[in-house]
Subunit: 205 residues, 2 copies
């Protein structure tokens, strides 16, 4: 009887081993896609006074577009000089691809980038690929974060400015007053406060 | 004695269970970084006749820059109309961050994007953020792949054109003759055939 018990116990131990290993394997293979994994640790977070920081690694997020408002076409003082490199946090993009919606927590970073010096008054220059505009120097960070409970007055989005100047940028920022950013987004943006018409990857012209 | 044996066996079974679970956990946490995982399945590959395809998911690669050569500044016929959205394959970017070099296999994709219609002859238009240029429609794919054995005549890089038109793009492409692409890159690019001076993230002006 002892031997029978022993054999049974060994069988159940083996089953446990295989079972646990199987569970671990399933866990490994059913982990979120790589882009989602990256995002969960990288989206905007807030401290107790509502400040947030520039998310680490945002330049490796999903690029959505690069509107260009050169100084040369804006009386030497563009509001957003000059390229706007715009990125969406990868987990939010995964949700957007499935639903067409910006989910709660969606973080979009816009980095401003100054141009190589122009050959012409409009700020453009001649390069091997043609006459045009070519990025040179990082020069500012704006960010928008969807959090409907936190930012009801901004149609669910908070807007942040970490400085319009070369790095280093500000460590922290509080949400901007509605009149500084969200008013213009509300009046002019294509879909849910985002200028999707400039970002063909988002499929909402 | 049977009971002692039983207890020992149970102990070793428990140790095995914990050990296997531990190994599985280590395996999960020591996996390559997310960006590298994405890249290894996504870089350019070649068939027996040297053709390659557009890598899946390239729009989620690491964005490096968006030079702009508008039709309006190039007699209505820019060579690369109009935004050039340029992406580097993430595993190659990880290596570049560490070494400052483009490793063998580095794949860089350039997607051309046409502009929203201009309000002015230069192709620019007025938008809420200022006068400038705003992307609208995907319109072409060029790609360069570093493979020194395969492309010695292109200074180690092969150049591919999948059509300069709206999607769908060509399924496959063979390397372009040297005079079509690599000659110009060799004469004008900043570093190792790449126009790094237009891509501030690469840190080589």
């Amino acid at each position: 009887m002892f031997e029978t018990t022993l054999i049974r116990l060994l069988h159940s131990a083996t089953a446990m081993v295989l079972g646990l290993a199987g569970l671990a394997a399933v866990a490994a293979f059913s982990a979120p896609p790589a882009s989602a994994q990256m995002a969960h640790s990288a989206g905007a977070t807030f401290n107790g006074t509502g400040e947030t920081s520039i998310p680490e690694g945002f330049r490796e997020w999903v690029f959505i577009g690069a509107p260009l408002t050169p100084h040369g076409l804006n009386d030497g003082a563009a509001g957003f000089p000059e390229f706007h490199h715009v990125y969406i946090e990868p987990a939010a993009y995964e949700v957007y691809k499935k639903t067409g919606e910006f989910s709660e927590g969606t973080t979009i970073v816009k980095e401003l980038v100054l141009l190589h010096e122009g050959d012409y008054e409009d700020g453009s220059r001649d390069e091997a690929s043609g006459r045009g505009y070519f990025a040179k120097t990082f020069a500012g960070i704006d960010m928008m974060v969807k959090d409907s409970k936190r930012f009801p007055e901004g149609k669910g989005w908070g807007f942040f400015n970490f400085g319009h100047h070369e790095p280093p940028y500000a460590d922290k920022a509080s949400a901007q007053p509605v009149e500084n950013c969200s008013g213009c987004h509300e009046a002019n943006a294509t879909y849910d406060m985002v200028f999707t018409k400039f970002y063909p990857i988002l499929g909402k012209q």
